[in-house]
Amino acid sequence: MTEPTEPRVGVDDWVAQHEERLEERKGLVGLLGRWLAYAPAPARLAAFALFAGTLPFWMDRGDLFAYGIFTLLYILLGLGLNVVVGYAGLLDLGYVAFFGIGAYSYGLLSSEHYGIHWPALASIPLVMLGTAAVGLILGITSRRLLGDYLAIVTLFFGQAFVVFVNAANPTVHGKGLTGGPNGVVDIDPLRFFGYELTTRTHQYFFLLGTVVVVLTALHFLSESRTGRAWRALREDPLAAEAMSIPVNRLKLMAFAIGAAIAGLAGCIFASVLTAVSPGNFGLPILITIYAIVILGGIGSLTGVVLGAIVINISFQFLAPENPQSNARVLFFAVLALVLVLAVRQRWLGAALVGAVIVFGFVTQAIVEAVAPSWSGGNVTEGGRLADVVQNWVVIPEGHDRFGNFAYVALVVAILVLTRLPGWWRTAALVPTVYLAAIVWENSFVEQPQVARWILFGSLLIGLMTVRPQGLLGTPRVEIV
């Protein structure tokens, strides 16, 4: 710290020390954060592309599909949404429909559904133009709506798309206009000049190339007059208009460009999966894309990439096909994190974690001594923690119903907890957290689908509590 000098009029010391305060963050996290914040964009892009380029050489095909291809698809989708939500500040909840329109259009243009087999060089540009046009139409009809109202109209649009492809003219053409609930199947792989991208590695590299091109294009765009105008209208549309920025035209442009990128992602998605159905384009994927953009930091391209990596990896980690050990480790990690974050002092948080562990072993020992049948249940198999958990968490023999009761008790306990004053609350945290572990082990761990979303949600809540601006977003201020 520098020696405080005499106060100078018009000089804000807090601001002047901005850089210094950034430097203060120590350790690996601080180093990584500084590098991500200050490294020039080409270096960041090169680092990403180089690392991503090595993936096919050490991952097996299944992992490359789940971790590589899906992460890249999420990045592409996040980049499109980032234009609409991050740059222009338009809360577009119908975004996933453009992804769907892109995927369906590509599917219908390259399958036996209508017997059309266009090469990708013709169909992808056409589909992108088409989705951009639909984006424009949605933009024109809703350009005067602000905030919540825009969100409602666009959400309706997104849902209407799913209903439409589910039910459109089932009698037409034998299979229906869009294939109904079964969707479009046997879609061709991407084909350029007669060469087909059939292997996962080829698809992955094509996708990586696309992502790098889109990232570069958006980086240049965001540093141009158009990008600045978008950010200006996000900050204050009236002032932007008064500063010679045609707000309506720029909103439409954001809608169209976002939609075109989503359409591109749709084409690749359809070709890689070789089938599309209405279920692919519902609310879960919309929420996921939003989570990526918000987690990464709204308006930051690096943030989108990072957000997509974090979210897709945690998603695949928690996938139902995976052994439950992953979910269990993550659950207890999140629980410990919440405990440490819930109290301000580090030592207290550590003490609480210790207290919960001791509390568990003691409770288990007492239950075992008093009523052995109550702890006779077996822990759900899998993973490193299973053995420890067996001796730590009370699991009765037939624990289905017990788990449900414990869940209700947990909700009540949390409600009570929030009303307790001071130290009582800290003390009550210990049994409540243990109860959460009981609920997890007796009930959720056997329902990976539910567990996955609950963990995903708590992960997001936890991260957003620590960094409301997202991983790489700049903290936004709304003081007038």
Partner: protein
């Protein structure tokens, strides 16, 4: 001066909100190179006049003639592009953008490169980018030490209140206007800063070549800068002339201080 056509002419400008007549058949001329102050008690309709001129409201009747053309009914961005820029009384900066970006964003109207050109880094886009950045630095240099160097890359929200007012002016200058409309530029400034601002507005005309129209409550500022003062009350023009003429005008004193003050 009198032989030339005025830069801005308001002819019978009228605006009402519901039954409330906010601006009532207002006629004001602003000549090239002049500094005109608009004064009047709160609610007199001063800011509404600015909102009408910049196209945020559409007038009920009357004409707004700028450089010989009626601009009433044009969209705000089109009016700004023709050469009228304003600041806001309530400060409407792009808070989460950097100081320099605030000014650069205002250059949208007088740059032409398209999104595609920007993506492909074509020569015109690159040249315009350089020009805008240079222009922004020039405009910010107008404020001397206040908005210099290290402040350029700070977010606008980190600025002090007085600096935000300065940045509002710099941003308006970024649109390359001929006419600057300043809405209470000295509000919230301390006496020293107010003094500085008075000089600045003078320099806006002499060094910047702008014609300036100011709404201001601080009579020291009004006295220091105005070629001409227009006084409004209830949307009507109640006096026009030099600062002294306006200040001694009975109707102006009545509007500010009430009827009894006139009698004494």
């Amino acid at each position: 001066m009198s032989a030339k056509k005025p830069l801005l002419e308001l002819k019978g400008l009228t605006k009402s909100f519901g039954g409330l007549q906010v601006v009532d058949h207002l006629d004001v001329d602003v000549n090239e190179g002049e500094i005109v102050s608009l004064i009047g008690p709160n609610g007199a309709g001063k800011t509404t006049v600015f909102n009408l001129v910049t196209g945020i409201y559409e007038p009920d009747s009357g004409e707004i003639v700028f450089e010989g053309e009626n601009i009433a009914g044009l969209a705000p961005h089109a009016i700004t592009k023709r050469g009228i820029a304003r600041t806001f009384q309530t400060l409407r900066l792009f808070l989460n953008m950097s100081v320099k970006e605030n000014v650069m964003a205002a250059a949208y109207g007088h740059t032409n490169s398209t999104a595609l050109e920007a993506v492909l880094r074509l020569p015109r886009a690159r040249r315009e980018e350089r020009e805008i950045a240079q222009m922004a630095e020039e405009k910010l240099a107008f404020f001397g030490d206040r908005l210099k160097g290290y402040r350029h890359d700070q977010p606008a929200y980190s600025l002090s209140y007085a600096n935000r007012r300065r940045l509002e002016i710099a941003r308006a200058m970024g649109t390359n206007p001929r006419l600057l409309l300043l809405d209470e530029p000295a509000a919230g400034m301390n006496p020293k800063e107010t003094q500085e601002l008075t000089e600045l507005i003078g320099r806006l005309r002499t060094n910047g070549g702008y014609t300036v129209m100011v709404i201001e409550h601080d009579m020291h500022v009004v006295e220091g800068i105005s070629d001409r003062v227009v006084a409004l009350d209830h949307g009507e023009k109640i006096a026009e002339g030099t600062f002294e003429e306006c200040c001694t005008n009975d109707r102006v004193i009545e509007a500010y201080l009430g009827l009894q003050a006139t009698a004494t």
